[in-house]
């Protein structure tokens, strides 16, 4: 049933501000339905007089149901909640089904963040996020929101958070969003402080065992290289491991292009390793990752230029 306000006594004091398109016909104009058009007219009117009231919450809810991508309405609703000191728990209860209906909407997540910040507790959020990720396990907004939660409520060292992240990686070892979240927990919370040795070892072992499951999966390779760089270890630390998947003496037997890529970096740092590094890059360009031949050749060029690794 469409909702109208013009004969609603509760709104009789408001003169709606209709959309004024003036002389020329605007570009990309929408022939609004009467219901939407009228509701927006009332919203413009209450915004013009800075009204924050219960009826404004009802009005914004109505408009959001017709257009959830309307940032103006979300921002004004958020301001109204704060001015009214309205129940934020009620807001979350209303928000949950709305978010499930509109998975890729920016506004809902920012709004949620504002509300949870006000509630000052992440309780229930993990269950909600799980429901959202069941629909789309790589949803950017959901993962970014999870990172905000971790930071806001200091969950970097929370065992449950780490266990959940491991479950996500276990469910799909190629889910790069989950790998990024692990990095966020392990390194992101340290504010540049050195990683303890046991953590470095634990993370390297974790990434290595993931690579063994599917050596052509780039996510754990990036993670592994990142940990080595973060720990300021020489890249040669990974030489034996890389050789498990790519031995240059058996160029027809390569199990991961990423191992070759890493070996090229390792050889480039070795004394007299340039020729081997070149060979690895040539193998990538000609056979194991030919779509990126230009890039591998660029890396080869760097070897000649400097003597320093790419």
């Amino acid at each position: 049933m469409p909702i109208f306000y013009h004969d609603d006594p509760e709104w009789s004091d408001i003169e709606p501000l209709p959309q004024d398109d003036g002389g020329l016909h605007p570009l990309a104009a929408i022939a609004y339905a009467d219901e939407y058009s009228e509701a927006m007219g009332y919203l413009r009117a209450v915004m013009a007089k800075n009204e924050f009231s219960q009826r404004v919450l009802g009005l914004t809810e109505h408009i959001i149901s017709m257009n959830p991508a309307h940032y103006t309405v979300w921002l004004y609703r958020s301001r109204t909640l704060s001015e009214l000191k309205a129940s934020l728990h009620d807001e979350i209860a209303w928000l949950n089904p709305t978010a499930l209906k509109h998975l890729k909407n920016y506004q809902i997540w920012h709004h949620r963040q504002t509300i949870i910040d006000g509630i000052n507790s992440p309780k229930g959020e993990h269950e909600f996020i799980a429901t959202m990720l069941e629909q789309d396990s790589k949803n950017y907004h959901v993962w970014s929101y999870r990172q905000w939660l971790v930071k806001r409520f200091g969950l970097f060292d929370d065992k449950e958070e780490m266990r959940w992240t491991e479950d996500m990686i276990h469910a799909d070892v190629r889910n790069n969003s989950a790998w990024n979240h692990r990095w966020f927990l392990v390194v992101g919370g340290r504010d540049g402080k050195t990683l303890p040795e046991n953590v470095v070892k634990r993370e390297m072992d974790y990434a290595k065992s993931a690579i063994r499951k599917a050596p052509q999966n780039q996510s754990p390779w990036n993670y592994l290289k990142g940990i080595v760089r973060e720990a300021k270890l020489p890249v040669s630390t990974l030489k034996d491991f890389a050789l498990e998947f790519a031995d240059m003496r058996r160029p027809d037997d390569i199990y991961s292009s990423h191992a070759l890529d890493l070996l090229a970096d390792i050889y480039a740092e070795e004394e007299n390793g340039k020729e081997e590094a070149k060979k690895a890059l040539e193998l990538l360009a000609s056979k194991y990752d030919p779509i990126r031949a230009h890039y591998w050749n660029f890396r080869k060029g760097l070897l000649d230029q400097s003597g320093v690794a790419a």
Binding site: D20, I30, K104, F184
Partner: protein
């Protein structure tokens, strides 16, 4: 639809496609599958395409199946027939690749500037985007947009907020995404009337409200802070020649900041992730669209060679960008282990000129991307798409065409180039010049030629230059 395009709204075509896709996909596949290969009737062009795809394929396939590998396999099954054959029966260019359907795309974009029925209310906050995407797409197709000038000015005079900046339309709050699309559209429309319709003094104050103590920018007052905010704000400032100094009422001043660029490079630096890519905000996952925003922002603050080297690890950045090109599809994905999508033809493809200005040229595979766009991303009824099986929208049309343009041209940054503007704040984007057409590995011919696109502003060069010049010469606000 890409999941993090810089538009504030989800495209309604996204919802429509769910309804309409299924039948369409079946129809398209039935044209292509099973028909020709088994019949031994592979044409010469098809055989050449099949050989090409084989030549860029990574020969290693892991056995482990996960959700990621399954959707990737399904996608490849839908995409490959379009890259191998020509299911839409387009005329082929001299390289045996479908020709650019210029007239159809022009018609599609003109329609995108027209009226929408009531079911499109979901686009109400994104109308500035529709205007920008359509005007830029038309310009890229060499279509003269001057007929729209007056309506562009009128459309945005309605969306300009009394306190500065632009909203999605009349009575909507100002938002940096809408402001970005509005200013680019007005710059494209051009001439004094368009420039003078912008209230620059209010814009200065509005941007001052968006600047955050940590160096970044929010998208709106009380809205999210992310790298789109930084990029959109800097684009507007550079084109309108807005003073670098924060206005007296900017809240960031209370935290000791005095300039719009204070802490900005450092903030962007924190958006570079452990794998070399760039994310929406510090700690988030690396993503192609945010990478372009970050690089674009750095290329406005100063010469790319200087700013990229100062604020980013270029080696890992290039490694990550190169890894976005999907094999054998040839198009780009936006994140590690995600699917190819035509919009990243620009978001990632467009990063290369900026990166190459800081390093060396020719690091990416232009031919493979050209093939993906022309063979895989042209919708048979006009407009361009994410991937075969999807429907066209102005967003994918604009950014596929910008990506196609990137494959066709080379640009250089010449710090010493004599220009009739610049020499003041945020002038770095005006030292770019078109070097010429990229010939190596070319698989497009004259019928497929796209106009050059400014590597940072993603509008025609002359639109950006004329706008900046006007405001440099103007005295006061």
């Amino acid at each position: 639809m890409a999941d993090a395009e810089i538009s504030p709204a989800q495209s309604p075509s996204n919802r429509l496609e769910e309804i309409l896709d299924a039948s369409d996909r079946i129809e398209e596949l039935s044209d292509s599958e099973n028909d020709y290969e088994d019949m031994g009737s592979v044409t010469q062009e098809e055989q050449a395409n099949i050989d090409y795809l084989e030549s860029v394929r990574i020969p290693i396939i892991d056995e482990l199946k996960t959700e990621t590998s399954e959707v990737q396999d399904d996608t490849l099954e839908v995409v490959l027939p379009f890259l191998e054959g020509n299911p839409n029966d387009y005329p082929l260019n001299i390289f045996g690749i479908p020709q650019l359907q210029r007239e159809k795309h022009i018609a599609f974009l003109k329609q995108a500037l027209g009226d929408y029925p009531s079911g499109f209310a979901l686009l109400d906050a994104s109308r500035p985007w529709l205007v920008y995407w359509s005007l830029q797409g038309l310009s890229a197709l060499y279509y003269d947009i001057s007929q729209y000038r007056e309506r562009v000015i009128h459309t945005f005079s309605l969306a300009q907020h009394p306190t500065g900046g632009y909203g999605g339309g009349f009575g909507q709050l100002p938002h940096l995404a809408a402001t970005y699309a509005a200013i680019l559209s007005l710059a494209m429309a051009g001439e004094i009337e368009a420039y003078e319709s912008i209230n620059r003094k209010n814009m200065w104050h509005y941007l001052g409200q968006m600047k955050q103590p940590d160096g970044g920018f929010t998208m709106a007052a009380g809205g999210e802070e992310d790298i789109r905010g930084a990029f959109c704000a800097l684009v507007v400032m550079s084109l309108l020649h807005i003073p670098l100094e924060l206005p007296p009422d900017a809240p960031a001043r209370q935290h000791g900041l005095t300039s719009f660029t204070d802490g900005l490079g450092e903030w962007i630096s924190k958006c570079q992730s452990f794998d070399g890519g760039m994310s929406a905000a510090p700690g988030n996952e690396a993503h192609g669209a945010y990478a372009f925003c970050g690089l674009g922002c750095l290329a406005i603050i100063g010469p790319p060679k200087e700013t990229l080297n100062k604020y980013l690890n270029i080696d890992t950045l290039i490694h990550w960008l190169a890894a976005r090109q999907c094999s054998p599809e040839g198009g780009y994905n936006g994140r590690t282990n995600k699917l190819v999508d035509g919009c990243y033809s620009h978001w990632v493809g467009g990063c290369w000129s900026i990166v190459e200005a800081a390093t060396t040229s020719d690091m990416w595979n232009r031919s493979a991307l050209t093939r993906y766009i022309l063979s895989g991303c042209q919708f048979k009824r006009g407009g361009l798409i994410d991937k075969p099986g999807k429907r066209a929208d102005a967003y994918h049309t604009c950014y596929n065409l910008a990506g196609l343009s990137a494959t066709q041209h080379t640009y250089t940054y010449e710090a010493t180039m004599q220009i009739d503007l610049g020499g003041s704040a945020l002038d770095a984007p005006y030292y770019w010049k078109l070097d010429g057409v990229h010939e190596e590995g070319k698989v497009w011919d004259e019928t497929d030629h796209i106009a050059e696109v400014h590597p940072i502003f993603v509008v025609p060069f002359k639109a950006a230059h004329a706008c900046r010049k006007y405001f440099e010469e103007k005295e006061g606000f």
